[in-house]
């Protein structure tokens, strides 16, 4: 059952060198209880997409924002005021950098309590109990003591768990996790993702998980969205995509991941480049790097081809 639908999202940044089309026509849907993974290398627009869905595009400096975000039967983009009730309470974000996401001069417990006061109107001892309960839920040792610590006194992993606690605090329907724990070492990352999976398993929580690690993807995501150059290249069930990737970029991406995983230093890849963010790309975003690129690829943007119920691919080559 679909609980979130995103249509033709566009987020453009105006800079002194030109317009950067960080998100250029992204559409997808999220079903209840599933984890949708957004994958792609650094810089393809995954994080900006997440922030845009949360209605924060302008806050990160975007000049032009367009598209539709349908949630609970309403287009949040049509009436931005709705975000006030949605953010934090129904759709929660877990940011990427745990270290800088929290106010350095407030205790962790206070910042968690803030959200509880604002969204759930909790106060006093009830609030305190809930704080301790939430910190315990995310498997932080000594929750009541931890609540009194300041962000700089906690390790990266602990901070990430705090962010998770904040995200879960008001019982949201959707969590958007932006590469959670990717800056921490893999064991900790695995632990945290495990905690998330546990919590998710016990509820009907839906998640959008941004990731760039094959292991993380295969273990956590039900469906995948493969992005490149601000656009969706391919989407579908994780199992199907991993078994049989169709888009040239997906194929290359999986090769890279497998190669890195196996530690093979002799990986041979087409030395291409991410189109300079300032260039206008009339054709396929991947044309500059694709081994199979033809003239048509450079001039005409491929429309998503619907292969079956769950699978779409945007490539001229396949439709041939």
């Amino acid at each position: 059952m679909e609980i979130l639908r995103v249509n033709n999202l566009k987020t453009y940044f105006k800079t002194t060198h030109g317009t950067v089309k960080a998100v250029d026509g992204v559409s997808f849907s999220l079903n209840r209880g599933e984890t949708l993974g957004i994958v792609g290398e650094s810089g393809v627009g995954k994080s900006v997409t997440a922030h845009t869905v949360m209605g924060l595009a302008r806050n990160i400096g975007a000049g032009i924002v367009d598209g539709e975000v349908w949630y609970e039967g309403k287009d949040l983009f049509a009436d931005h005021g709705l975000y006030g009730q949605v953010r934090g309470a129904k759709i929660a974000l877990i940011p990427q950098e745990a270290g800088t996401a929290l106010n350095p001069v407030m205790t962790v417990g206070d910042q968690l309590g803030e959200v509880l006061s604002v969204h759930l109107a909790l106060s006093g001892s009830e609030k305190q109990q809930r704080i301790v309960q939430l910190l315990g839920l995310v498997e932080l040792p000594n929750p009541s003591q931890t609540a009194r610590l300041y962000p700089f006194q906690l390790s990266g992993g602990a901070l990430q768990r705090v962010l998770l606690a904040i995200a879960l605090s008001c019982g949201p329907e959707i969590i958007i996790a932006d590469e959670p724990a990717s800056s921490l070492d893999t064991t900790i990352q695995a632990q945290i993702l495990g905690t998330i999976r546990d919590i998710k398993g016990k509820s009907e929580l839906s998640m959008i998980l941004i990731a760039h690690d094959l292991g993380v993807i295969s273990q956590n995501c039900d469906r995948l969205l493969v992005m490149y150059g601000g656009r969706v290249m391919e989407s579908g069930l994780t199992s199907e995509i991993l078994r049989q990737p169709l888009h040239p970029y997906t194929i290359e991406l999986l090769e890279i991941y497998r190669c890195l995983d196996e530690g093979d230093l002799g990986c041979d890849f087409n030395k291409g480049y991410l189109p300079s963010s300032y260039e206008d790309v009339p054709g396929c975003a991947f044309a500059g790097r694709c081994r199979q690129a033809r003239d048509r690829c450079r001039t005409e943007r491929p429309a998503p081809l619907i292969i079956n119920d769950n699978r779409t691919v945007s490539c001229h080559f396949l439709s041939a």
Binding site: K14, T15, T16, R58, N59, G61, A62
Partner: protein, 287 residues
């Protein structure tokens, strides 16, 4: 290069500041051409007349034309301001560079000395020294340099220390480059931006200091048409002849404002990080 939302603001500031200062310099240079009378020429029969007629700004207690005096006063202010700045810049930069680069005892001594200088209330040190060595423009310039150099030295020292710690300086040193060359080629260029910004904004403060000291009788002496001297005189006739206060005062405000605007704009221009900040901040504020 100079495009984008943030840049138009910066350009406006620099241009307005620059225009004001240029006009000021022009006025100072062509002072004799635009003054209806000699700044020192007295005309007791017309003393304390209100603005009008040939005396655009009125006359003072000795019948001297205020307009001419204000215009000639700009010469004094600009000369003092720029001279003091140049001397302070060189002295402060030199000492700051030494302290920053060589560190150790030299640095500690410099810091303590400048601390002592800076813990005197502003201008008091200048007042005391001027009281001892006597008034006059040369003494004034010297004294103003003495009270200002610590700030420049500290600024430069700070820059030198932060640049010194950077990898490329270490690389140059390991490669055996002569210290003087390192200083000139790597460290000095990085000091330009903050020094120029701070320097430009200091000119305003220097002019204020000169005016203040002259106002107290410890700087430029009457009958020279320093704005400070004019204000000191004006104080006594404030009720009867407000124009004595208003015109020199306005001249001063405009002058200082010009330098402040220019310095402010330069500060943003020369600091690329500041410019980016403007763009991102605008996003965070929904207002």
């Amino acid at each position: 290069m100079l495009t984008g939302k943030g840049m138009t603001e910066i350009n406006k500031t620099i241009i307005s500041g620059g225009v004001i200062i240029t006009l000021l310099i022009i006025v100072a240079i062509i002072a004799p051409l635009i003054s209806p009378s000699e700044p020192l020429a007295q005309n007791l029969s017309a003393s304390l007349s209100s603005p009008g007629g040939s005396a655009f700004f009125g006359t003072d207690s000795l019948g001297r034309d205020i307009f001419s005096r204000v215009v000639y006063g700009s010469r004094i202010s600009l000369t003092v301001g720029i001279t003091v700045l140049t001397l302070t810049l060189f002295l402060g930069t030199f000492l700051g560079m030494l302290a920053g680069y060589f560190g150790g005892v030299l640095d500690s001594v410099l810091m303590r000395v400048s601390d002592v200088f800076m813990s005197f209330p502003p201008l008091v040190l200048a007042m005391i020294v001027m009281a001892f060595i006597g008034p006059g423009i040369a003494n004034l310039v010297g004294v103003l340099v003495i009270i200002r150099w610590p700030q420049f030295a500290r600024l430069v020292r700070g820059q030198v220390i932060s640049v010194k710690g950077m990898a490329y300086v270490d690389a140059a040193r390991i490669a055996g480059t002569h210290p003087l060359k390192i200083v000139l080629k790597h460290i000095l260029p990085n000091c330009f931006a903050p020094v120029i910004t701070y320097g430009t904004m200091s000119v305003g403060a220097i002019i204020i200091d000169e005016t203040a000291l002259s106002f107290l009788g410890l700087g430029i002496q009457p009958p020279a048409p320093s704005w400070g001297v004019m204000l000191a005189d004006a104080k006594n006739y404030i009720a009867a002849a407000p124009w004595l206060v208003i015109f020199p005062g306005l001249a001063m405000i405009v002058t200082v404002l010009g330098f402040n605007l220019l310095g402010d704009g330069l500060g943003y221009l020369l600091n690329p990080k500041q410019r980016e900040r403007i763009e991102v901040t605008h996003g965070n504020i929904k207002g």
